[in-house]
């Protein structure tokens, strides 16, 4: 018999602020946190809005003894480290990273860490400061100068800021998590895949505690430009960011990028109850799949959403539930029209006509698409919805796609037993999680 797995700590950093309470307040109030970009001057970019994490200093989120190491943290790493700190505190766990003097809740060998990460963009100021030392008289880059001297202007540890596994590495060091450890890089599906794999590790007994979820920031000119060039971001709402992202709406014109860290703690039910933990939800189902649609050339989704449906069905089978048991769906809901239709087709094929009665709720209008952090943020929100028995407000959807329960509505009480969290990535990886009321 495999062990039951529960969610005991929620750590989020999003445009809505630091911590799950700030995010919950924002979504229940129905207020979007998307805004004009302040991190750099976006005026010559086709898109000028995003979900930025503001007023955030990493030094507050690491032990004093670890502050020096923050110098080798790219923004993505900072978000993961701070989200993990929030999750541990929210869970009421103690690790050497919280209080080295007090007894720790779990030994290092029983604690694992699977974190989703994206392609980390190099800080352009730092890199170009070094590159600019190696130019010829015309201002063109000179590789010979760079090789012989220029590169020495980069700090020796430069590379370590940008390896995707460093999100997990810093978290494991701070919290002395010595068990199974992994870094999953599957675009927006990364977090949900890392949560699903962490669930399996606890089920089979290889750890009692897992840090999982993910973090990513694409708010760097290069990374941001890449996103714009895929055509996935809305260019129509630079003056009205709060209404920019309209999932499943006839007016949908694309998504927005958000910075996000979403790390949750999973524990074995038996060890969590033994320590008297608050349990926010039980994780009961997980399934993954890959979309095969070569006709899309990597940038267009399968209109039938067959791969997405396969992930949902696998999660339902794993949870031993029928589609009728699902009370709420948190889909990717990116507000990219073709992707919304693909996801809707997938859901329709699984849930049939009942889909019209199951609310669809997307976090994207509030905090944007948090990339590798998205599934962690959504799973944290799903846990809150189950705990509070509340469906937060839905915004920016006045004319939903026919047959979908996605229309704007204020926050209200709702009887929720099972919530499906679904993530799909640019690239084709899909992951579905099913959470149950604790």
């Amino acid at each position: 018999m495999s062990r039951r797995v529960v969610i005991t700590g929620l750590g989020t950093l999003t445009a809505a602020g630091v911590g799950i309470e700030a995010l919950w307040q924002t979504v229940t109030a129905g207020q979007s946190s998307l805004d004009r970009i302040s991190n750099f001057d976006p005026s010559r970019f086709d898109v000028q809005i995003a979900g930025e994490v503001r007023d955030f200093k990493i030094a507050k989120f690491v032990p004093k003894s670890y502050r020096k190491a923050t110098k080798v943290m790219a923004r993505d790493i900072e978000l993961a480290v701070a989200a993990a700190d929030q999750a541990v505190r929210h869970a009421g766990l103690n690790t050497p990273g919280i209080d080295p003097e007090a007894d720790r809740t779990y030994p290092g060998s029983r604690s694992g860490c699977h974190i989703g990460a994206g392609l980390i963009a190099a800080d352009l100021d730092e890199l170009t400061d070094a590159l600019a030392t190696s130019t010829d008289d015309d201002g063109k880059f000179d590789m010979h100068q760079w090789g012989s001297e220029g590169m020495t202007h980069l700090t020796p540890l430069w590379l370590l800021k940008y390896l995707p596994n460093m999100l997990a590495c810093h978290v494991t060091i701070i919290h002395d998590s010595q068990g199974p450890s992994n870094t999953i890089t599957c675009g927006e599906a990364s977090s949900a895949l890392s949560i699903g794999e962490s669930m399996r590790i606890i089920e089979r007994g290889d750890a009692d505690l897992e840090f999982c979820g993910g973090a990513e920031s694409k708010l760097n000119p290069m990374a941001f430009y890449r996103q714009i060039s895929t055509g996935r971001l809305t260019t129509k709402a630079n003056d009205a960011p709060a209404g920019a992202v309209c999932p499943f709406d006839a007016e949908a014109s694309g998504t927005a990028i958000g910075e996000g860290g979403g790390i949750i703690t999973l524990e074995a039910h038996e060890t969590a109850t033994a320590r008297g933990a608050n349990i926010y939800a039980e994780l009961v189902g997980y399934g993954g799949s890959h979309t095969i649609y070569p006709q899309g050339h990597g940038l267009e989704p399968d209109p039938e959403g067959k791969g997405i449906a396969a992930a949902v069905r696998a999660a339902l089978r794993n949870a031993k539930l029928s589609p009728d048991d699902i009370d709420l769906i948190i889909p990717t809901g990116s507000a990219i029209p073709a992707y919304d239709r693909s996801e809707a087709a997938a859901l329709k094929s699984v849930f049939g006509d009942r889909l019209g009665q199951i609310p669809l709720w997307s976090s994207k209008p509030y905090v944007g698409n948090c990339g590798a952090g998205a599934g962690g943020v959504d799973t944290a929100l799903a846990s809150m919805m189950l705990t509070e028995q509340t469906l937060p407000a839905r915004i920016n959807c006045n004319s939903p796609i026919e047959g979908l329960a996605a229309a704007s509505a204020p926050s209200h009480a709702a009887a929720l037993n099972h919530v499906l969290v679904l993530t799909t990535s640019l690239g084709g990886q899909n992951a579905a999680l099913i959470l149950k009321k604790a």
Partner: protein
């Protein structure tokens, strides 16, 4: 460990590789047994003044000779092209290409592939055009103007580390659970170990697993040179990769891909597959020590090896061969040796431990998969590949590193180690298949 009686046995049924020593498994193997070295001066870019001017590059390779759907991969990056060649070979080697009515939702992928290669020229030019030397900062307005039209959307998108996965899934038409993990130099061993767990628990019938990577580009070499991780023996690059040698001075960057096909035993038997070996143990751990250093006692590697042995139900004396991580850095080889001694005790000195990185260079994310393939071949042919360039033993390193020449030895159980920068450690164990 796991006492679930419903769990599946997992076997390896196919392998394929693209490396600096050849574009197929048999050629690579013959070269490794002959002690040949794939290192030469770097040609991918002008490295003439770099601290390290050589690498182990894949040469004369055209992925179109391997794939059935070249039209899907026109924009694919270098690492993805390596992966496609290796995956197609592994798929054909497994015989799955001849099976009708495959349930493709039950065939998954778990890769440990690296990010794609940056469009260095346009990237640097754009940054320099936007540089404000007085503020020592990028002017984002100028940057956006310079970037307009400078970058190719596909080339940019292909850099994401899930794109290799997407291409291999499309090429083979498989739609089961799909993952890419990127745990630095441990990635493809980790991928194979995780694929094994997915099959063991029944979430798929077949998993294609392995990795692909190339960091032989200006910023990749810059990054490793700044870390002083690479050998700088420019006057003798062919002897530069010298794991366990007293005069080792760092690793040598390589590139390529290794892919294997893993199946549940039931699935392999039902289709009459040729079984190469059984995968019986996997261990994963984190050093949780420092970003820059390996734990001096090797507690992470020790944890990974012990976990794998425990899962396999083996005693240290059962291991016939260890494929070392063996990078050729001072620190790695010392600590790996210490960790092997801690785990294997008195048996350590009688187990051959070799590093094919002495010949192939370090394929980073792809290294572990290629090394596991060499373990499969060692088992098949009862031959252990050598650690070349080992003429000056390090007095502190006293294991049997199979110096300089391949050795005849029956291998029934082999263990393969991979350790990543930042302290992610993975070990897998395979055994000769016995029904």
């Amino acid at each position: 460990m796991n006492t679930n009686k419903n769990e599946h046995r997992v076997v390896l049924t196919g392998m394929g590789a693209i490396t600096p020593l050849g574009h197929d498994v048999e050629t690579i193997w013959a070269n490794l047994l002959a002690g040949k070295c794939g290192i030469r001066p770097t040609e991918h870019f002008d490295a003439a003044t770099f601290p390290t001017q050589f690498s182990a590059q894949v040469v004369d390779y055209d992925y179109r000779n391997f794939v059935e759907h070249p039209e899907y991969h026109e924009h694919a990056g270098l690492n993805t092209r390596f992966a496609l060649g290796a995956a197609r070979q592994a798929w054909a080697n497994s015989g799955l290409d001849k099976v009708a009515d495959l349930d493709r939702d039950r065939i998954g992928l778990y890769l440990g592939s690296g990010e794609g290669t940056l469009d260095f020229e346009n990237y640097v030019a754009t940054n320099l055009k936007a540089w404000d030397p007085d503020k020592r900062a990028i002017d984002a307005v100028k940057w956006a103007q310079a970037a307009r039209g400078a970058f190719d959307v596909y080339r940019e998108t292909e850099q994401e580390a899930n794109m290799t996965l997407a291409h291999v899934a499309m090429e083979l038409g498989v739609s089961g659970p799909a993952y890419n993990c990127l745990t630095a130099c441990a990635a493809s061993t980790q991928a194979i170990g995780e694929a094994y767990e997915i099959l063991r628990r029944g979430d798929a019938d077949v998993m294609i697993s392995g990795g692909a990577h190339s960091m032989i580009h200006p910023l990749g070499v810059t990054g490793f040179n700044r870390l002083t991780a690479l050998s700088t023996r420019n006057d003798s690059c062919i002897t530069a990769s010298r794991p366990f040698n007293r005069t080792r001075d760092g690793f040598v960057l390589g590139e390529g891909s290794g892919m294997v096909v893993l199946e549940t035993l039931e699935h392999a038997k039902a289709r009459g597959a040729t079984i190469l070996a059984e995968l019986i143990g996997y261990g994963s751990s984190a050093d949780a020590y420092r970003i820059t250093d390996i734990h001096p006692e090797g507690r992470g590697p020790i944890g990974a090896m012990r976990q794998a042995l425990k899962q396999a139900g083996l005693e240290p004396t059962d291991i016939d061969y260890i494929s070392a991580h063996g990078t050729g850095t001072k620190e790695n080889d010392s600590i790996e040796t210490r960790a092997v001694k801690a785990v294997f005790g008195d048996a350590a000195k009688s187990i051959p431990v070799s590093s094919v990185k002495s010949m192939l260079g370090h394929l980073i994310a792809a290294a572990g998969a290629v090394e596991l393939i060499t373990c499969l071949l060692a088992m098949r042919d009862s031959k252990i590949p050598p650690t070349i360039n080992l003429h000056e033993p390090d007095p502190d390193l006293d294991l049997d590193y199979v110096p300089n020449a391949a050795r005849d030895r029956q291998v029934d159980v082999a263990l393969s180690n991979s350790f990543g920068f930042g302290g992610q450690n993975d070990t897998v164990i395979i055994r000769r298949f016995d029904a």
